[in-house]
């Protein structure tokens, strides 16, 4: 086995130097924005602007989707190059996914697999160039975890679909360019055979976006009121949305894997080293050390499961239950870490004021513990999927869909 994330062929070493220098240059002056617990931790314009700009610069270098074909905006590079990019940007607490403020990371692969040549040519270059903010728009108020029970209707009318319905709990504090969504294209059709995927310009008439103020920050409700979407934006063909979803959602559900180190632990160590109580550094306190030990174990297990899934994805042998297992663990670890941060920092853990300690993200960690118990499913649906993949109580095991 080899857990090393640093391939060391001369060519790759040179590329790593190049990436490292480029990042150092382009991160200059924005070090304080290195990491947030999530896109929307801070909800300030400065961070948004910085990240979108960085995505654009990375995209211009074709480094956002390095292994994708050149003609679509990728660089046609090897998996080793992607490792380099992921691991180097991870040092800034970012990832190729999280610089975006968009879900292109999930959308582009699905377009690659299911899009027509025309769709690819139109959508992929600006997306891989980091120019677009795309939101995934999935959850409906009635459906909740049951995404197949989609009530947003898209009825064919000439060259358009007329879309009506509502989605909730999506996006963040600043508006998107495109929406990527599940619609019911055949209300009379059978479950799982009546759905379509649509790629919808966010500026079309009839779309209203309203902020929702949530525990984790701002998200949105989106209303579609007779929105005319060109039929050519249907991805994967008529009534084929569930198939698109299947390979696509596995990515969101943990199957994509990750090479990231979670920055929370290092930040907390730094905090404990510089904070005293009763004349002694918190790092010398046995209670604090015990909490840190538990946290480190959880984060290491999470890191390794992410790494495992990443590896399985890229050798094209999807891990059967690895995706939902990672997601389930991640939710539980986030919840436990929320409590741990409060145990270590006390009231300060509830306070996002930067002047208290440099780490605004601690407060985000506390509220995102319970806040992110759902999102792309719940603890309960994660376990439902794991059970199917393990074939518990069933004669056979369900395969993980091949991710895109």
């Amino acid at each position: 086995m080899d857990f090393s994330l640093q391939p060391d062929s001369p060519e790759i070493s040179a590329f790593r130097q190049e990436v490292r220098a480029w990042l150092a240059e382009n991160m200059k002056g924005s070090e304080h924005l290195r990491w947030s617990g999530n896109w929307s931790t801070r909800e300030n314009a400065e961070e948004y602007k910085f990240r979108r700009a960085l995505a654009g610069k990375l995209g211009a270098k074709r480094w956002l989707f390095p292994t994708y074909p050149v003609k679509y905006g990728g660089a046609g590079m090897s998996l080793d190059h992607q490792f380099v990019l992921e691991t180097e940007i991870d040092k800034y607490g970012l990832s190729l996914g999280s610089v975006f403020y968009t879900l292109s990371r999930l959308v582009a692969p699905a377009l690659m697999k299911f899009g027509t040549e025309e769709q690819k040519a139109e959508f992929l270059p600006p997306m891989m160039g980091g120019e677009l903010a795309v939101w995934q728009v999935l959850t409906e108020p009635q459906g909740g975890s049951d995404v197949a029970n989609c009530q947003t209707k898209a009825i064919r009318d000439g060259d358009d679909y007329i879309v009506n319905g509502q989605k909730v709990l999506v996006g963040h504090h600043l508006p998107p360019d495109f929406l990527w969504t599940f619609v019911c294209t055949n209300p009379a059709g059978k479950r799982h055979e009546n759905l379509g995927w649509l790629y919808i310009p966010a500026t079309l008439p009839g779309i209203t976006i309203q902020h929702m103020h949530l525990m984790m920050g701002i998200k949105n409700a989106i209303f579609f009121d007779n929105v005319r979407v060109p039929a050519k934006y249907l991805v994967g063909g008529e009534n084929n949305g569930w198939k698109v979803a299947n390979s696509y959602l596995e990515l969101e559900h943990g199957g994509g894997g990750s090479v990231a180190e979670h920055p929370l632990f290092a930040r907390l160590i730094a905090h404990c080293q510089r904070t005293n109580f009763d004349g002694e550094s918190l790092m010398e306190d046995q209670d604090v050390r015990d909490v840190l030990a538990e946290m480190l174990i959880d984060l290491d297990v999470q890191r390794l499961m992410g790494l495992r899934n990443f590896w399985h994805r890229y050798v094209k042998q999807p891990h059967s239950y690895g995706g939902p297992q990672f997601l389930f663990l991640q939710r539980m670890v986030r919840l436990r870490n929320a409590e741990r941060v409060q145990k270590i920092c006390g009231y300060d853990a509830l306070n996002p004021d930067d002047s208290v300690h440099e780490v605004a993200d601690f407060e985000y960690t506390v509220r995102s513990g319970p806040g992110w118990l759902h999102g792309g499913g719940t603890l309960d649906t994660d376990r439902l999927i794991i059970a199917r993949r393990l074939g518990l109580g069933r004669p056979s095991q369900e395969d993980a869909p091949t991710t895109v």
Binding site: D146, L214, Q342, D348, P352, P370, G371
Partner: protein, 375 residues
């Protein structure tokens, strides 16, 4: 043995429930919490009228002379709201500190005002954001000609912004802790709101605040034992408030399992959803019975120090965890600040810290039962 409420208590419970229904229905409370409104002066005044401020104080001071259990029954209903305001911090804890440690003159001067709501006295004890206890009292009390000069910052004072007066814990040059009654309007006192994922806390700073010798509650350097004695009597009432909150969460969650339909059936038919509710039931009932047994001990003259610490550990943990389990059931909908669960979720995080974390109180419980040789 008799584990039911008596008729009077059932009546008090109903009065409190009706009060909330009229003055502070759930959607209104939800709105207050979203707007971080932690004190409603008008409602606070009205509760004085119903006799909920200083409920356990003797008649002579304008109190209700109620038993701890009676008071717990009322606070349980308030917790269902959860009705915000300094009902506990002033009406129970500060009142008890003054009753236990105040001079006759102080009692006569302040307790009636606490009972009629004209003074809101708030304990400002710990300076440190992490730990509760005498070690975290860092505000200095320097001897002056006429008394003491106080300097320091209490980073998180629950209900601090509602205060007309503070009971400030401060450390003297000899290393002891004094409690001093300080007028919020005194020169050098500053109150700053604290934002974040909590409610009701404010930063209270004392910059060379002069207090007279008559401001001292309890003997010189013997302030902390006064706090401890008052906590034994007060904490179980705060716990009853948290029990009521858990009860409310339990009921709203159970109800949701009946009305919310996903995958073609009410979600309560799914075993996983059921188990979240079961987990709440255990936290709720554990907190309930530990709390009420402690209240009974207080009313029966049985030693209750360990029980009070135990109650706080169990009830704060129960409140915190019940919110988590409820979030597992409500999922996205429950994270919206427009949802009644959010008021609880925010408050539970603050009360987890308030007057000591569960770990602090577990240790205090065991220490009360089995004192350490090496202390």
């Amino acid at each position: 043995m008799d584990l039911k409420l008596n008729d009077d208590q059932n009546m008090m419970k109903k009065v409190a429930a009706d009060f909330l229904k009229a003055e502070a229905p759930s959607h209104v409370i939800t709105d207050w919490y979203q707007k971080k409104i932690a004190h409603l002066p008008e409602i606070y005044k009205k509760t004085a009228g119903v006799g909920w401020l200083g409920m356990t104080l003797p008649d002579e001071f304008g109190g209700g002379g109620s038993s701890a259990t009676d008071c717990g029954v009322v606070f349980e209903e308030l917790g269902r709201g959860p009705l915000p305001g300094p009902f506990f911090s002033c009406g129970v804890l500060a009142a008890q500190i003054l009753l236990d440690g105040g001079s006759a003159a102080q009692q006569k001067a302040w307790l009636p005002k606490i009972c009629d709501g004209s003074a809101i006295v708030i304990p400002a004890l710990s300076d440190d954001p992490i730990q509760f206890g005498p070690k975290s009292v860092a505000t200095r009390a320097t001897k002056s000609a006429s008394g003491f000069t106080l300097s320091g910052t209490k980073r998180y004072v629950q209900d601090g912004d509602a205060a007309s007066h503070f009971i400030c814990a401060a450390r003297t040059d000899s290393g002891g802790v004094i409690l001093a009654l300080v007028d919020r309007q005194a020169p050098g006192v500053a109150v700053k709101a604290v934002s974040g994922f909590m409610i009701g806390a404010a930063e209270v700073s004392f910059t060379n605040v002069a207090v007279g010798a008559d401001a001292l509650i309890g003997a010189l350097d013997e302030g902390w034992p006064v706090v401890l004695a008052a906590l034994t009597k007060a904490l179980p009432i705060l716990c009853a408030y948290q029990v009521g909150a858990c009860q409310e969460i339990f009921e709203m969650t159970n109800e949701y399992t009946r009305t919310r339909v996903v995958f073609g059936q009410p979600i309560g038919r799914f075993q996983r959803v059921q188990d979240h509710c079961v987990d709440i039931s255990i936290h709720l009932d554990g907190a309930r019975w530990i709390t009420y047994e402690t209240l009974w001990k207080l009313d029966s003259g049985i030693a209750a120090t360990a029980g009070a610490h135990q109650s706080k550990a169990v009830a704060s943990e129960a409140y915190y965890q019940s919110c988590h389990f409820a979030h597992m059931v409500f999922a996205g909908a429950g994270t919206d600040y427009k949802h009644p669960l959010m008021a609880h979720s925010v408050l539970a995080h603050a009360l987890y810290q308030y007057l000591g974390t569960p770990l602090f109180h577990k240790r205090a419980m065991i220490d009360a039962m089995y004192p350490r040789k090496t202390a």
